[in-house]
Amino acid sequence: MNGLNVAKVVFGAAIMFFLLAPLIAILPLSFTDSVFLNYPIPAYSTRWFNELVTADVWRRSIVNSLIIGSGTTALATVLGTLGALGLRNHASFWSLSFIRTAFLLPMVVPAVVLGVGMQLMFARYNLTNSYLGVIIAHTVLAVPFVVINVLSVLQAIDPRLEQAAASLGAHPVTVLARVTLPLALPGIISGAVFAFATSLDEVVLTLFVAGPNQRTLARQMFSSIRENISPAIAAAAFVFIVGTIFVALILILSRKSLARR
């Protein structure tokens, strides 16, 4: 191994450490017996996981996260896929490239700005303190991820496949259902996973538009850190990470099975 390769390995390892060290620091604490969030761990127990499922605030926040996450995923996937279909193949049109940029705007605009705007608007339409309001707010953030993912697979589809389907007698709607969407499925699935993940760890917008009944897991972690730091947060983080790894696994497996077809 020459010097350059050694440098690559060292650099890579440093980045891995930088990314993973915070997780490695917090996760063991979820198994602590103590009421304090610090090392050394006196004894191991699962009492904080018990707390998570038995304490009403934590249990409700997990259920809320699942409700809002699935709602956001469904809405953002449908809207983002439709948007990507509309934006496809029109790169040269300046008006459409403007719309494309507008679609990606929520990724760039500070969440606080979006949050203030949404709170004002939602108040007008009685959407504050409602599940629908939170789902809409999260969808705004999630749609760009779906659009980017779906657009990139759509642009890789050979338009001649769709022409072939049309020439064989398929109505445009049938072409979409039987050729375009099945071929775009890998992108739609990863868009959906991104949408779910976005909703899961979104805090800022939730602070603005959600009421006490729509506390999500991320929001609950945020406020319990301010109010009373307990290892329940570490347990919640553990659940969070395991959940994310699980979703990522689904994504990888579904990609593989699609590729095998």
């Binding site: 496949l161 022409q163 072939a164 049309a166 020439s167 064989l168 007698g169 109505h171 039987r178 077809r261």
Partner: protein, 354 residues
């Protein structure tokens, strides 16, 4: 010619200010195999796409079977299309690909299965029906595409350079297969290609395109033996072009004066004396020696001898012209630098417009 089955009437297509197809008139009879031959950008694929319905003509009308189709969407045209890259659906098996047009026509399952099987047997892929397109070779994918375009018995089959991606041997086999299918099923086939050999072997008629216009249309032998323009002479097959002026003409013959002062006799339409023309002589029509009289005789120096396996190609300097000559292996090979006489019959050289 009987009533045309397909006809283009003054069809133009332009992208921006660029005319891809320029006021095209073209009639095709039922059961005919017509090749559209031309360099890339000559408009031949655009014409096919307009016939299939993927492009709309800027102006003009297209009729198929007496019905105007230019405003009809592609899925209502009932034409089989074979694409250059085959365009098989990667997420479906071979049988599902071939069954797709039948499903679109809501054909009962049992009948559709029988048709799929017959179509796959026809292209000798009966055993491959459960495979995915990605598990097939290029030639097999091509045959699936062919089966898919034929299984619903369309009246017209459009092929856009379907053999372009195959290697030479497979291509020649597929040429014969397609010609055989054409004859057996009585299909009307429109075949786009830039390969003149392919067009010559397969077609009933060839339309040679250049800059969005038909340069010449006719039987393969007419196109090859009697090209009417310099472009056709050069594009279809190899040829030697010699420039000169008409000295006298009539009776299908003409005497052409070369710049060097010598004269040649050639087949020609009646032309006025003094007209600037080009003479086209195919390399295989030129013989070494002063053989058959009366004939045109040129003498020159052999510049180069190129070995081609079944024949030799000679590069000849004669009278200030560079000529290609195809020489039989049976004849003793000349050497570079050698002086030789060559001759060709007047009926083997042809006058084309400048």
């Amino acid at each position: 010619m009987q009533d045309p089955f397909i006809s283009f009437e003054k069809v133009s297509k332009s992208f921006g200010t660029f005319n891809v197809v320029d006021e095209l008139y073209l009639s095709i009879s039922r059961g005919e195999f017509v090749s559209m031959l031309g360099p890339s950008g000559s408009g031949k694929t655009t014409i096919l796409m307009m016939l299939a319905g993927f492009e709309k003509p800027t102006s003009g009308k297209i009729f198929v079977g007496g019905r105007q189709v230019d405003a009809l969407p592609p899925h209502k045209r009932n034409m089989g299309v074979v694409f250059q890259n085959y365009a098989l659906f990667p997420h479906m098996s071979v049988a599902e690909n071939v069954g797709f047009p039948l499903k679109m026509r809501r054909m009962p399952r049992a009948e559709a299965d029988g048709r799929i099987k017959r179509a796959l047997d026809m292209v000798q892929l009966g055993t491959m029906s459960e495979r995915r397109p990605s598990q097939l070779s290029g030639g097999q994918q091509q045959r699936v595409a062919l089966a898919r375009a034929l299984v619903f018995e369309p009246e017209v089959v459009l092929m856009d350079e379907p053999l372009g991606a195959l290697d030479k041997k497979l291509r020649e086999q597929m040429q014969l297969d397609i010609r055989e299918l054409h004859r057996r099923l009585g299909l009307t086939i429109i075949f786009v290609t830039h390969d003149q050999g392919e067009a010559l072997t397969m077609s009933d008629r060839i339309a040679v395109f250049n800059h969005g216009k038909i340069e010449q249309i006719g039987k393969p032998s007419e196109i090859y033996d009697h090209p009417t323009t310099r472009f056709v002479a050069e594009f279809v097959g190899e040829t030697n072009l010699i420039m000169g002026t008409i000295k006298q003409s009539g009776d299908g013959r003409a005497i052409i004066q070369l710049p060097s002062g010598s004269t040649l006799e050639a087949s020609a339409p009646n032309l006025n004396a003094g007209t600037q023309v080009s003479l086209s002589i195919r390399p295989e029509r030129i013989r070494s020696g002063k053989a058959q009289a009366p004939a045109n005789i040129l003498s020159g120096t052999v510049r180069d001898v190129v070995y081609h396996g079944d024949h030799l190609q000679l590069l000849l300097d004669a009278d200030g012209h560079q000529l290609l000559v195809r020489s039989d292996r049976a004849v003793k090979a000349p050497e570079a630098g050698q002086k030789m006489d060559f001759s060709f019959a007047p009926e083997d050289c042809w006058v084309v417009a400048q």
